[in-house]
Amino acid sequence: MGKMEKELREKAKELLESGEVAVVIGYGFNRRKTRVTPVFITDPAETDKLVFNALCVNNLSIYLTRKYKDVQRIGRPAIVAKGCDIKNIVVLITEGQVKREDVYIIGMTCEGVAYKQELLKEKLVPEIMPVKCHNCDVRNPHVTDTVIGEKSDFTPPEEPTGMVFDKIKQIESMTATERWDFWNEHFTRCIKCYACRQLCSLCYCEQCITEKNMPQWIETSAHPRGNLAWNLIRAMHLAGRCTFCGECERGCPVNIPLNLVNQKLVLTVKNAFDFESGYDENVHPPMIVFKEDDKESFIK
């Protein structure tokens, strides 16, 4: 990783010195150098703070959204982004949230990250990588202004594999009652901290539906009724948009398996519209466009 970091720092320095960008959004170490955390580098002399390694699991694209007025005020950003993070930037572009020319994308080739930082002991092993990494088709980042790192020759399996897909199959085979019980058990734990929403760059609404109270669409209490309503509605709002970056599940302090919900919707949309979000900034997601030949089989 040493070489990549060096290249990254040089690029960041060059971008800041030339004035092409005002801030580089990237990863840096904490005090103990045990964890990485988002950093905002504005001074070319501080680009040495930038790091890139298997701890860099956060999807930094949240900082491009209008929720972060404070970051936007700094000026044009460059963002350190893995292929999976770039998928989210692509959706932000297709949905008119970010203009392609308003962000400089430093694409990082990637050999996978840890599912959670705490899991990484000495080196990255497949067991601690999230399912998205095992099936990754963007290890060589796809929409970039520059690419840092050696080309990866990883080929994802033809059929996506991993725990999330196995579990989805298992849930599909359950009866309706069993499924209801399964989800209720998980959603009951929800504490309504909204970490899932806050970590999702596609949840960029300044006023979330849960904050709309005329009428009160979702009960704000963290009781099973309110929790179920929140989680179902959030899932629906991400259908056809979610890129399966996994940030919501990673951030959930009570371990709700949100990846199952979101991947199921990814599969559903793929099946219905032959669409996967996050690949092409010129193609609009199916839920915001209408085509005459759209399948109408969902109306029963």
Binding site: R31, T37, N58, D70, C193, L199, Q216, H223, E247, P253
Partner: protein, 337 residues
């Protein structure tokens, strides 16, 4: 009162006895791949290999959501039916000495001038059995806020692990009464049973609580650009406040129809952008760093100066749970300069 001893076996009996007498026994258990405080009916699910449970046990006195009253609209107008506050004896087993200090802090908020009985009635019935830490992780920083695994502030009975049980030191009158009531579960310490050595987490050198307090007390530091620089990464979720043992903010909200329903008191977080939004659209804390600054001020300025209590107990939950790894101790260090 001299030290007593409770074996793991007797602990099992204690749990069933408390349950039988109508009390609640709350202990660390494994749930969804993490250790959390939960009500238990027997010793089987209770775990002892943990640093700190994910949640704080404040929820036994200050539940995340509770009904204050039910209302009904009828011909006569409106009828209000207040909900009786359920104040059962509640034993919290396995609390760590750091967070044991927290209920006293919450108490100071819920009782200054007006007394919030929805909290105090429950808190009065809580007995805290703390267990001294023999392990710590990188996020523990109790020693930096002048607490330690040896602290007994807020513990009613301080327990110390041995090979086969716990040596129990009653601290408060409540604790002494508890040991007396359940004396059948306690015994003299058997020969050979010794306290395991407590861990001593390293103090963070750069933090000086006095200087920190002085910095925060000055209004001219309120607009220091450091606030934004160090905390703009905050994603604005409520994970830290909902795990924090001293965060006390709440919302009051109605649920129901125009004809019947209930008024609830729910946890709320000063980190949410709508928390302080005025009806006019004006928001005094309109950016995330201002909201984080408020939380930090609350811990290290408001609690200590206004309520003369501990705002931060150094449990480190907010660091562990933070999805962007915003480390409160790094801010403490920066603001100690």
């Amino acid at each position: 009162m001299t030290d007593r001893y409770i074996s793991k076996e007797s602990l099992g009996t204690l749990i069933t006895t408390v349950n039988k007498s109508g009390g609640r026994f709350v202990a660390p258990v494994l749930d969804a791949r993490q250790v959390v405080y939960k009500e238990v009916a027997s010793i089987e699910p209770v775990v002892d290999d943990y640093i700190l449970p994910r949640n704080s046990y404040k929820e036994v006195a200050f539940p995340q959501t509770e009904v204050i009253y039910k209302y009904e609209l009828n011909r006569a107008g409106v009828t209000i039916d207040p909900v009786e506050i359920e104040a059962r004896e509640t034993i919290v087993f396995g609390a760590r000495p750091c967070e044991a200090a927290s209920l006293a802090s919450l108490n100071s908020v819920f009782t200054w001038d007006f007394i919030d009985e929805t909290y105090t009635k429950r808190e009065e019935r809580v007995v805290v059995l703390s267990v001294g830490c023999i392990n710590a992780d990188d996020e523990c920083f109790c020693t930096t806020v002048n607490l330690s695994p040896k602290s007994t502030t807020g513990s009613d009975v301080a327990l110390y692990e041995t090979d086969n049980g716990y040596i129990a030191t009653p601290i408060t009158d409540k604790g002494k009464a508890f040991v007396k009531t359940y004396s059948a579960s306690f015994a003299d310490t058997p020969k050979g049973e010794k306290r395991k050595e407590l861990i001593d987490p390293e103090k963070i050198e750069g933090v000086d609580l006095t200087k920190l307090g002085e910095t925060l007390a000055k209004t001219e530091n309120y607009d220091n650009p450091k606030w934004a620089e160090l905390t703009r990464k905050c994603c604005g979720c409520g994970a830290c406040t909902y795990s924090c043992p001293t965060c006390h903010c709440f919302d009051i909200t109605d649920e129901g129809t125009a004809f019947e329903g209930e008024r609830r008191k729910n946890w709320d977080a000063c980190q949410f952008d709508h928390f302080t939004l005025h009806a006019s659209g004006h928001n005094p804390r309109d950016t995330q760093y201002k909201r984080y600054r408020n939380r930090f001020m609350c811990k290290f300025h408001i609690y200590p100066t206004k309520f003369n209590s501990t705002g931060c107990v150094g449990c480190g939950r907010c660091i562990r749970v933070c999805p962007v790894r915003l480390d409160i101790t790094e801010l403490m260090e920066a603001m100690s300069k």
